[in-house]
Amino acid sequence: MNRRPGAVRLAARLLARDWRSGELLVLTAALVTAVTALTAVGFLTDRVGQAVAERAAESLAADLRLRAGDRLPESHLELAASHGLETARLTSMPSVVFAGETSALSALTAASDGYPLRGNLEVATRLGELGVVTDALPAPGEAWAAPGLLARLGVDSGAEVEIGEARFTLTRVLTLRPDEGFNFVDLAPTLLINDADLAATGLIRPGSRVTWRQLFAGDRADVSRFKAELEPLLDPAERLRDIEDASPQVQAAMDRSGRFLNLASLVSVLLAAIAVAMSARRYALRHRDRVALMKCLGAQQVFVRRVNRVQVLLLALVGGVVGIVLGYFAQLALAWLVRDFIGQSLPPPGIAPVWLGLVTAACILGGFALPDLARMGRTPPLRVLRADVEPPRLRHGLAYLAAIAALVALLTWLVRDIGLAAAVFAGAAVTFALLGVAGWVMVRATRHFRGAGGAGWRFGLANLSRRGAESVAQVVAFGLGIMVLLVLSLVRNDLMDSWQASLPEDAPNRFMINVQQYEVEPIRALLDSRGVTVPPFVPMVRARLTAINDQAIGAMTFEHPEGERWARREANLTWSDRPQDSNTVLEGEFWSPGTTTNEVSVEQEFASELGVGIGDTLAFDIAGEPLQATITSIREVAWDSFQPNFFMVLTPAALAGYPGTWINSVHLPPGAEDATLEVMRQFPSVSVIDLDAILAQVRSVMDRAAFAVQAVFAFTLLAGLAVLWAAVQSTRDARAFESAMLRTLGASRRRVLAGVASEFFAIGLLAGVLATAGATLAGYLLATRVYDLEYRFNLALTLAGPILGMLFVGIAGLLATRRVIGTPPIRVLRAA
């Protein structure tokens, strides 16, 4: 006996020959499309994600920030060092700065070397000049002041100032601090000094209101390991923030785009998997004879199986690598195309998408091609004598289990969220089932329309119902493809609109606080005269929570650590006789104007962390005066609205007599920035906070997210095309034979073409109708359940579905079968 051949060698040879003869083109193209789409999206989102994270990190000046009321224990720093993290320290406190006879309140901030760990400081040499990036810090003896502080002191750089017991020279104007927040502690303008000078000021004393912030930065994995180890060591007064909670606007945008991108890449995978399954089925059908022949020529079952598996592996490897390379270049090209839009270069992508590409290729082929190829491998050798001998059906469970297992594994790996993966999978399964049933009903129904047209139409529709299961499969595949495209357009538009709406061009860019009641009208008049629209001023009263339901706070324990924090710190209250626009009442009822009782409306998260609800009473201490109010409603607040918002709103009757200040937010159009300096000059006690830098940051993050969304959209479209191509190809052989038969029987080429066109247009129409129904439902569910947006019925898309389906499938089908129909009948019949 001869020695047995190597399965790998033969598999590779057969594969190479199949490739050369064009047999593998559709399958490979579908696979490569899937991997290209997925890895291009992977590379791109990885880069955009990194850029977004970098921007978010800039708003913390670090990857992780620990805030404490006291100096940090050395052990935390040692832990950070053991993880290879960079560290820097910020110490800040409110402090009065003197320039000669003038004084102003500043947020004195002492920074140690390395600050900021993420992002950059920007400084100017004189007031009014444009800031430039610097990586330096004030030298000992020097201080950098924010423009607002210089305006209030009436000086410019070069001046001498006194802070506590030390003197400093103002050498630069600090135009931008990346971590400049707009929380109420940081209200005063910054004066930045070197950490080495802090002790000399003599301001660090027992009882002084000092905040220590320790900054950490490093490799993403190191930071998250460090965070996990640090968290259990923290004391309740210490608060850790990472880039995920850096700012609610950035977080909301990242969260939405992250979900969308995950969803879209899942859809690309699903579509490509369908295309691969269809191509694999065709390949398996066409190659049963070869398997029978190989067995007839002496190949053993186990050998045939091994050859099949090696072929699948080789295909996965080749398709994976080609897809990854193409994905990388596609991503480069896209990034280059939108370079102006992005504004700055993206960081290089990580290696993760490469593994993603290879695993995806293996999963798609393993799950969606292997079952058909496995069945093909069981073709009995007797088929060489009797063409009607079919391979035994595989137990269905096995084939489907493989596909489902592969899909679930991929889904879970992609979204890294078992709940979401389960939801998407269940949704996809239900969609398939619904589309299948609806497709079957519709295909059956076409029988009744046969009489409505000419011979071509009759022939086309007859084909549609004769191919029963195949037609249903095609309607479902096309329907799913079109549905995904429709859902994507729906969700994409809705997402963009909601982002635009949440951050309009005239979003407030200046916050004014500390306004006394008698200053409200003069400030309004001043701003009015500069053409600035001034919304109503909002009152604010500082209070301390003393008791809940007559139980003293001091004696209470809170389940939620945040609740404990809220209870012990000073709270800002406001009064109003109607809820603000950006508020929604979830429980209870907001009081009506003129209510004379003491009532309070509480923000929902605050209420749950504090453990209070409707009917509970809260007692406050306001500058020594007690006040009690009953909770009558719970509100949801859109924190990303850039409007002044409060955790607790009381009835005017409850609060009106207490001493308070007023706050407001206004939009200064470009060119009206001077108005701010004027307000600060005329009303020195009023603090004006510039939000332009923060807004620019948020806009840039949203721009990136929007760009990523567009890219994903393009790739999902490609995957949809792959399905279309595979579906058309899957019936190509049968069509070629039928058209040759018809033409042999005397049908004109035109008539055959009309028949084929009728069939494809009908399939496209059915798929389009199904897709529209599915997309409307999916769009509604996505908008209301996932993205928290208001759903709007979209008539244009509803019409677009069937028309798009009919034109798309009809034209593509005709293009794909045109050559088949053009082939001389004799060639087709002889080949059969």
Partner: protein
């Protein structure tokens, strides 16, 4: 002329072969108690009308299918005692096939089609031997062509080259001229017999063409699943 004495010395032996299949109208007996021996180097043809059971018998003799009763011994191997892989191994070493519909792999060139059985047998000289055999059937110049680029006669010549390239001890031919015009069919048959003689192979030929059948040493006439009668001929050496 060679005559088998018993299945001990036979190249191929069929003993009381029965093939039954279950159909919608109950069990159908396609082959009913068929026995015969074929001596090494002997040429035997099986003739009969459509549905007589010729192809079923061929499938059983080649181990492509298993009988409901009886046994087949091919070159000392009792096919009934072997599983499908065992039967495949016997075919790999001893058996060549020529089919009515050629059964060339459309994605492979003529040369690659001929190489396939050698590759399945793990032969290192597959390419060289396949080229020589293609030359022998007069298609050396067409080795790079795909089946769709070849005429029917050329396809069958490639199939014959593929059958002989492994130097089979037994060659099974199922209606080898069934898809060819008369002139081409005659050329193909000449080629088949010539190569068979050169290789001293045992030939089992299924055909409905009595004239072709009579070129063999023996003709088995089948009807309704049984061998009705047997004709012996002096081997036609005129070719």
């Amino acid at each position: 002329m060679k005559t088998p004495d018993s299945h001990d010395t036979a190249a191929l032996s069929a003993e009381r072969l029965v093939k039954r299949v279950d159909g919608p109208g109950g069990t159908l007996t396609i082959l009913d108690d068929v026995s015969f021996n074929v001596a090494p180097g002997e040429t035997v043809s099986i003739v009969g009308a459509s549905g007589a059971g010729k192809s079923t018998l061929l499938g059983l003799l080649a181990g492509l299918d298993v009988p409901s009763d009886g046994r087949v011994v091919l070159e000392t191997h009792d096919l009934g005692a072997l599983d499908e892989d065992g039967r495949a191994a016997v075919r790999a070493d001893h058996v060549g096939f020529v089919f009515q519909s050629f059964h060339l792999v459309p994605s492979l060139t003529a040369l690659e089609n001929v190489m396939l059985p050698l590759e399945l047998a793990g032969r290192d000289d597959a390419r060289q031997r396949a080229l020589e055999t293609l030359d022998a059937v007069g298609l050396g110049q067409r080795s790079g062509h795909y089946p769709r680029q070849l005429s029917g006669g050329e396809k069958q010549r490639v199939a014959i080259a593929r059958a002989f390239v492994i130097e089979p001890r037994v060659l099974f031919a199922d209606e080898p001229t069934g898809n060819l015009d008369q002139a081409t069919g005659e050329h193909i048959i000449e080629l088949l017999f010539e190569l068979n003689r050169d290789h001293a192979a045992t030939l089992v030929l299924v055909t409905h063409d009595l004239e072709l059948a009579r070129r063999c040493d023996r003709v088995l006439h089948m009807a309704a699943g049984r061998i009705e009668r047997e004709e012996r001929h002096e081997r036609d050496t005129a070719a």
